[in-house]
């Protein structure tokens, strides 16, 4: 990736009709650790991998509750996610005040999408550097949406964002057809298995680095962190390490240059020093 004349701001089209600043913002998502979302007929679950800056440091939070029926998982710049989630909370409260009902999931997702689009069309603004998975339940049932800095929103049965998330997507694509009828615990378990596939060889899911949230029809959003995650990790059983298949996939990717192995690529782009400071806010 090299600098060009057309990537300085988000109000300049390249001759091919691309907006590079928006594409770079999409890259920022891949700098963050992975988050996975999936839904059944009755529930939506979010699972995410938390990162700590240093061994003894605390873990950056990955899941933000919005309302009783709504929560988001993030990958990318967490301050940007906080701006968006605060906005979503406002929308949510406004709905309860005005209409005496929880805000429909699609409505609030559309609201942040429209907000993000403006940032890609005006000089002096920058696109948000964060991707979100929004899980929520409304009159029309459980929903899972993905939000991107471009202002693109998509509804999914299962989705994964963040570093090495391609492995998780591969898992989801293989098994999503069974999701509609699985139980609450099984849904989380599928999420954990997908998340486990994104791990590097020497890492494993622990009570420290795993965050879970689940919301269902007639059931408020509940978040699990720390020791309360243990029950789900125990369900996962065996070892917390990645499946054999993912390991094989990984070696194959290393040989082929790696479609999703982009950690080094952008760090190089940021130049010395800057790479690390940018990483500090990227979770």
């Amino acid at each position: 990736m090299f600098r060009n004349n057309y990537d300085n701001d988000s109000v300049t089209f390249s001759p091919q009709g691309r907006i590079f600043q928006v594409e770079y913002a999409l890259e920022a998502i891949k700098q963050g650790s992975a988050a996975v979302g999936l839904r059944s007929k009755t529930h939506v679950a979010l699972v995410a991998l938390k990162r700590n800056a240093e061994e003894l440091g605390s873990y950056q939070k990955k899941i933000i509750p919005i309302d009783k029926h709504l929560g988001v998982a993030l990958a990318g710049l967490s301050p940007d996610a906080r701006v968006l989630s605060n906005f979503m909370r406002q929308q949510s409260m406004a709905s309860r005040l005005l209409y005496k009902r929880p805000v429909p999931v699609a409505r609030v997702v559309n609201a942040i999408a429209d907000k993000a689009q403006v940032n890609t069309q005006h000089y002096g603004k920058r696109p948000y550097g964060v991707g979100l998975l929004i899980a929520g339940v409304d009159e029309t049932g459980p929903h899972l949406w993905e939000f991107q800095p471009s202002g693109q929103i998509l509804e999914y049965f299962g989705a994964a964002i963040g570093a090495r998330s391609q492995s998780a997507r591969t898992y989801l694509e293989r098994s999503f057809e069974s999701f509609p009828d699985v139980s609450r615990d099984e849904l989380v378990l599928h999420g954990l298995k997908a998340l486990r596939d994104t791990l590097q060889q020497d890492r494993e899911l622990t009570t420290e680095n795993t965050s879970i949230a689940i919301v269902g029809i007639g059931e408020d959003l509940k978040q699990y962190d720390g020791p309360r995650v243990k029950r789900f990790l125990d369900l996962l059983g065996e070892d917390g390490t990645r499946s054999q298949r993912a390991a094989r996939l990984d070696t194959a990717m290393d040989v082929g240059g790696g479609a999703d192995d982009d950690d080094d690529e952008l760090a190089g782009l940021l130049g010395p020093g800057e790479g690390t400071s940018a990483m500090d806010t990227t979770e």
Binding site: F13, G17, Q117
Partner: protein, 278 residues
């Protein structure tokens, strides 16, 4: 594009020495890779159709719509940058509402096209913004009957009997030109639109796709239409809505079959086939 802009293409609202605005031309480029989208003006209504590539099987089918309703009697389909299309659609809805508030009437399609053309044009005037990376096909009906317009990033808009934009626009255009819009009915139009989307689809390069199709009709059978036009609502009787599912499925099936037969015997001339279809 003959040459790229040697310094005159880095900012919006700047003319090159030969009088071009490169950023607007580049915005048009963004559309040229968008999904094939068409509009047909029939005798008794409007059809909007769009080829939706399925980029992942994890996506919820039928979700993530590309065609929206502006007012009861007007629909819009956009091709190009999806978020820009959403912004444009929202603005069109605001215009339609403001027209109602001011004039106690539903907005004529020509007037809405004019206002949206001006809105797009405003985004070519300033270096602080960029043009919309979309073309919008606006279809609706008013006192003068069905009307169809296509708005470009420059703000330019024309009225059409048949409009096509996006990746497969050339193939789609040449198919549309074979139709007779003064005789075409909505029901025939649905089949033609499905066929055109199939023809324009490049199955060597592209993945699987689904067709999204809506129409503007005077005799809707849907429950929404029956519930429309309540107290105080000025409404001209036309409805923009999804083409009934069974109808769309049937049209898609026929289009697929026609295309397969076409592939089998290349000897048969296209004109003969057209006559059979009509």
């Amino acid at each position: 594009m003959t040459s790229i802009g040697t310094g005159y293409d880095l900012s919006n609202s700047v003319f090159s020495p030969d009088g071009r605005n490169f950023q607007v031309e580049y915005a048009q480029k963004a559309v040229e890779n968008g999904p094939t989208t068409i509009g047909l003006r029939c005798k008794d209504g409007i059809i909007l159709a769009c080829e939706k590539l399925i980029t992942s099987k994890l996506l919820v089918p039928g979700s993530n719509k590309r065609i929206s309703t502006i007012d009861r009697h007007i629909g819009i389909a956009t091709s190009g940058l999806v978020p820009d299309g959403k912004h444009f659609t929202n603005r069109a809805r605001e215009e339609a509402i403001s027209w109602r508030r001011n004039f106690k009437d539903s907005v004529p399609v020509a007037s809405l096209a004019d206002r949206m053309g001006s809105y797009a044009q405003a985004y070519t005037l300033y270096s602080s913004v960029r043009p919309f990376g979309i073309t919008a096909i606006l279809g609706g009906a008013d006192d003068d009957g069905p009307a169809l317009y296509m708005i470009e990033p420059s703000g330019m808009y024309w009225g059409y009997f048949g409009a096509a934009t996006g990746k497969g626009r050339q193939a789609a255009k040449s198919e549309i030109e074979k139709l007779n819009p003064t005789e075409l009915t909505l029901l025939q139009g649905v089949k033609e639109a499905a066929r055109i989307i199939y023809v324009a689809h490049d199955d060597n390069k592209d993945k699987e796709f689904e067709i999204e199709m809506t129409w503007v009709t005077k005799d809707s059978k849907s429950a929404t239409a029956a519930a429309t036009g309540g107290k105080g609502m000025v409404w001209n009787g036309w409805v923009h809505e999804d083409v009934p599912k069974e109808l769309l499925e049937e049209a898609s099936k026929e289009a697929k079959k026609a295309l397969e037969e076409d592939d089998e015997d290349e000897g048969e001339t296209k004109e003969e086939k057209m006559d059979e279809d009509l």
